[in-house]
């Protein structure tokens, strides 16, 4: 469960995030939808404690992200915008490195790693060095290492960026699996199809502010539009 209240972050004179509040519940997939530069990545970075908010609070499973960043990081798994993996290590070594940093002992880490490799269908590539991996294989590796410690909350920044149709479908399947397991999944995207296909709740962000928050149905009703895309355009203020 992720609760965000009155989040602010400025870079110089630019207000990147200007009073964002929302809630992402367990057992749901929540989508942060917004155009490029709306403040999605900055919001997520404050959630996963890479940045300190200028004002506002982030509670993850009731733990304050500003005051107890290390405790929060144990309860979250993150696929950040930057998803570089170590190309001279194998996929498995990449995953086990993060498992060790999460404080898992070797047998537990190995078991968790094997299980994720199975779920993500990575058996073929697990023991290959990641140099020369396809985009999809790299994202799988990055997701596996982010989730190896079995976090209750999963944050993904534009997870399907650069993936082909097949990889996108299997990633969506995987995220639905996380939802079914009762995890709290929060993802950011600028793609309408993504939220429509995947999300239980949609939070629309524009110019650093939340402009709408609800299910796809509620948003369509709110904007008085049949199509989600029209509703989106209207809600972010691009069309009257």
């Amino acid at each position: 469960m992720i609760e965000v209240r009155g989040l602010h972050k400025s870079f110089g004179a630019k207000r990147a995030v200007d009073g964002v509040s929302f809630c992402a519940r367990d057992g749901e997939i929540t989508g942060l939808l917004g155009p490029n530069g709306a403040g999605k990545t900055t919001t997520l970075r404050m959630l996963y404690t890479l940045m300190r908010p200028d004002a506002g609070s982030v509670l993850i499973d009731g733990i304050d992200a500003v005051h107890e960043p290390l405790a929060v990081r144990r309860t979250i798994g993150v696929l950040p915008d930057a998803r570089g993996i170590y190309k001279r290590l194998t996929a498995r070594e990449n995953i086990e490195y993060f498992a060790a940093l999460q404080g898992m002992d070797v047998p537990t880490a190995r078991a968790a790693c094997d299980s994720l490799i199975g779920t993500l269908a990575m058996q073929e590539i697990a023991d290959r060095r990641t140099e020369g991996f396809s985009q999809g294989e790299r994202v799988k590796t990055a997701i596996a290492r982010a989730l190896v410690h079995g976090p209750k909350n999963v944050l993904l920044d534009e997870p399907t960026n650069g993936l082909d149709v097949m990889a996108t479908r299997s990633l969506r399947e995987f995220l639905r699996g996380l939802k079914a397991a009762g995890r709290c999944v929060l993802l950011s995207t600028h793609l309408m199809q993504e939220v429509a296909a995947l999300c239980d709740r949609i939070i629309i962000i524009a110019h650093g502010r939340v402009v709408a928050d609800g299910t796809a149905e509620e948003l369509r009703a709110l904007a008085g539009e049949q199509h989600l895309e029209e509703a989106f355009m209207k809600l972010i203020g691009e069309v009257p």
Binding site: T49, L50, R52, L101
Partner: protein
Amino acid sequence: MSTALIVYLKECRESLRDRRVLMNSLLLGPLLGPVLFLVLMRLVVGRELEKAEQPLPVVVIGAERAPELVDALRQMGVEVKPAVDDPELAVREQRIDLALRVAPDFGAAWRAGWPAQLELIYDSSRREGGSDVERLRNMLDNYGHHYGALRLLARGLSPGIATPLALANRDTATPQARGALLFAMLPYMLILTIFIGGLWLAIDSTAGERERQSLEPLLINPVPRDRILLGKLLATTTFSTASLTLGLLAFLVVGMFMPTEELGMSLALGPHFFAVALPVLVPLVALLCICQILIAAFARSVREAQTYLGIAQLVPLIPSIVLSVLPVKAQLWMYAVPLLGQQITIMRLLRAEPVPPFALLLSALVTLLAATAVFMLTRRVYDSERLAISV
């Protein structure tokens, strides 16, 4: 397992698979100094030695008029070349370097006991010919003095009459000291070895990791950033120390092939040097590595880090140059200056001069203290929000 150790092991494993790191830390770093040094020594020393031993080609005009002189010159190492038509023109046109003309009345003057005339034809504006002219002149002087002495003896006079001054050279430089002068650059080469040994790891584990976008995911793990920094520092230090150790070993080997004896020098480049120099330099390894990481953390890209570090590796050259130009007397405070202290220690070791243990301790302590201070500073850079953000 502690976080620093996890990071350390991962950095080492990754680096051992990186050909660039291996080339730099385990091959280029250790060998650059000794090889450069060997080449330099061979060039400088070799030229002097060759000059003394190589035959000196001289065009002799009228050799038949002074057969005894020509024979004597041959014995002293002159290669007598056949006469040319216009030796002045030939020298001016640089076809020949040096010519000796025996005057037509040489034989008659010699037999009569008059000064017999010889002409040296050369171009003093051509520098490389200077020492050849000097050599030939010395040979002729020797020949002249020899016969002068014989003539005096033949007339019942002591040859000492014609030599009112007796000059002898007494150089107080010990053979070790003469060697160390040539070896003044050796400390810098060792420092360069340390620098190159840690270079790629320092760049790769900070600027490189950020450029490849793996720093942000790494920092989202529930570990304090100073632990990560410590792991990276230890890995960099390990490779740098390995580089230094191999470099010192290479110098040991090179020391055996140095033509030092032929030049009347000796250098304490033995196992004792190795055993003392390594522990003396290890604190410096820690300091240089953390400085490299700090600089790499400031750089926005790998290329930028390379540029900064390329400039930074010239900084240790300053004490080296100062020490080789100004023969300062080692004072205690100098040991308390990182870089300077180690360079003085290395130079004293090479001269087989004792270094007070207290000075060694002082040097190590101050250097480690400086390394800790830079670590604290780097930690602040690591803790900043901007570190991980690559765009």
